[in-house]
Amino acid sequence: MSCSAILLGENLGKETAVWTEIGDEAEEEDGEDLSEEEIEAKLAGSKSRCVSSHSHLVNLLCDWSNRIPICLPCQQIPHGTKYDKKWLVPALQDICSIPYTPIQVSQCMSKRFDCSQQALDLKSIHTDPDLVSRDIKVVLNRKTNMEAVIKIIEGNIPQLTSLNLSHNCIQRLDELSELVTKVPHLKVLNLSHNDLKSEHELDKLKGLKLVELWLVRNPLCDLFKDPSSYVSAVRQKFPRLLKLDGNDLPPHIGFDVDTPTTLPPCKGSCFGSDDAKVYIQRFLQQYYSVYDSGDRQSLLGAYHDEALFSLTTPCNVQNPSGLREYFKDSRNLKRTKDSTMRFRLLKHTRLNVVALLNELPKTQHDITSFTVDVNAYTVSSRLICHTLIVVDDKSKESIRAFSRVFITVPAVDSGLCIINDQLFIRMATTKEISRAFVAPVPPPSSSQVPTLTAPQQEVVSTFSLKSGMKLEWSLKCLQDNEWDLNKAAHIFTQLKTAGKIPDVAFMK
């Protein structure tokens, strides 16, 4: 009569496994009649071990609770056939002061627990045959049922990492908010096919470090205008999320306090406060590393839904080609009213903004070139005015300067969110160019370092042709030898004969 022990155990002290000595009578259903008092006494005091003849499910469940091995077959309360369950259950409940769930639920849950994955599948639990056949309804949209289930999880498998609650008509997540503290390692949560009506329900789970979430087929999903606002709303609540509804999400601009970044000092910048400085430097660093990465799609996470972006660039006759890639639509040029021809684009909503950003030329910014000024403009928003030197990946000749202003508001995940973005792109001044890229920036695979003059480039090409080495290796050799072509050639030949030049240096 012991299998409620796992729950009673809490009441009687965790070290006590309340098992009756079953002995050889275990298989027999008819034992002697026990009086009510005797049953109570047995419950209250005995410490015995479960017979290993019931081991067929013991192993499965030893992991479930390594304090109290549970024996499932004994779930039929021995001698219970003599006593009406309706009487026993309340009797047990009286003894046990904690909220009590029939053992069958716990058993059912343990069957659905995959120890190797630390995963619990409670999908459609109200239709579970084991429970239904015993007339037990675990309806998870009821507070008491949900609370009980969570208590079982908390008490037995707090190290759970994956939980499936789909198809359970769940409307509210109030009780599930316990998971945040009680099941802190939960990474995968399936709430699909339920009845969650608003994204604010998810706020109750904030703090869970979810990596995978399923929400499909909940009324809340239909409230979003488009898939990306749905994705971004969810991501704001769960910044570590990598998979939503089975789809991989693009890497996210994280504002984790944990990840340190090394930033070169911004000289002359004014941040307003030291806290703001670290915060904002990190934001800019992350923003521009995505900006330079070739796919700016994940910048969506940095922008507010209603973000505004405008791009201005001067076009004067003397240098028409330099900024050509930024001119998309010649109609606009004719439409501008300024006497100095000017090209402008204005984009509204984050989707449009990022779509435009994705079409701009690939860039590489010089991280040492940042000058940043920050003003607090309202209590929470920041005006971040910054200038940086940027090199266009394709034509290394044109080094540009971005003068850019962000207005940022705090984002829900304690990051920053851009709501206004004004970008002015101009050619860099000669002074800026001479100082740009002073710190070596790793060159992309096959192109020259931007600051070479035309004659220098010629020397490199000649050397490369003669030696058979790739351009950047030729460049290095020349640089190491003070651009003395003869000396470089001599050293090259020496090293080559000595076999010291790796194969990868040579053009195929």
Binding site: T312, P314, D338, D373
Partner: protein, 128 residues
């Protein structure tokens, strides 16, 4: 939408014109566009309040100054302010022509547009 200039652009550009005109002629008058809550960051140095700002601007070490605007851009902000960005060149006294970059936040208080934030930078990177 047509070719009608949006309101924020109208306000922004007339402010910009007014600002540089006043700056170039008599910058002590600039107090009229700032309020006590305004913040100016001038080449990395912060100033707060109308008086401090005017003091900073009038104490700049040049007598003659001329600004030429290369480009300006205006955007509305969600709280009905205007973000204006100006890029141009200036010449002070007998110095060389230097590029500059400035941005303003304009706010409507009692039917008048004032500047609540102002950030100014010369277009030369301060590496040293």
């Amino acid at each position: 939408m047509g070719d009608q200039t949006p309101l924020w652009e109208q306000i922004g550009s007339s402010f910009v014109q007014h600002y540089y005109q006043m700056f170039d002629s008599d910058r002590s008058q600039l107090g009229s566009i700032y309020i006590d809550a305004s913040c100016l960051t001038w080449e990395g140095q912060p100033c707060q309040g109308k008086r401090a700002i005017v003091e900073k601007l009038t104490s700049l070490p040049f007598t003659k100054i001329a600004h030429s605007i290369t480009a300006q851009d205006h955007q509305p902000t969600p709280d009905n302010c205007i973000l204006s960005m100006v890029v141009g060149q200036l010449k002070a006294d007998d110095d060389h022509i230097i590029g500059f970059h400035q941005c303003f936040i304009l706010k409507n208080i009692n039917d008048a547009w004032v500047c609540t934030n102002d950030m100014f930078r010369l277009a030369v990177h301060n590496f040293g």
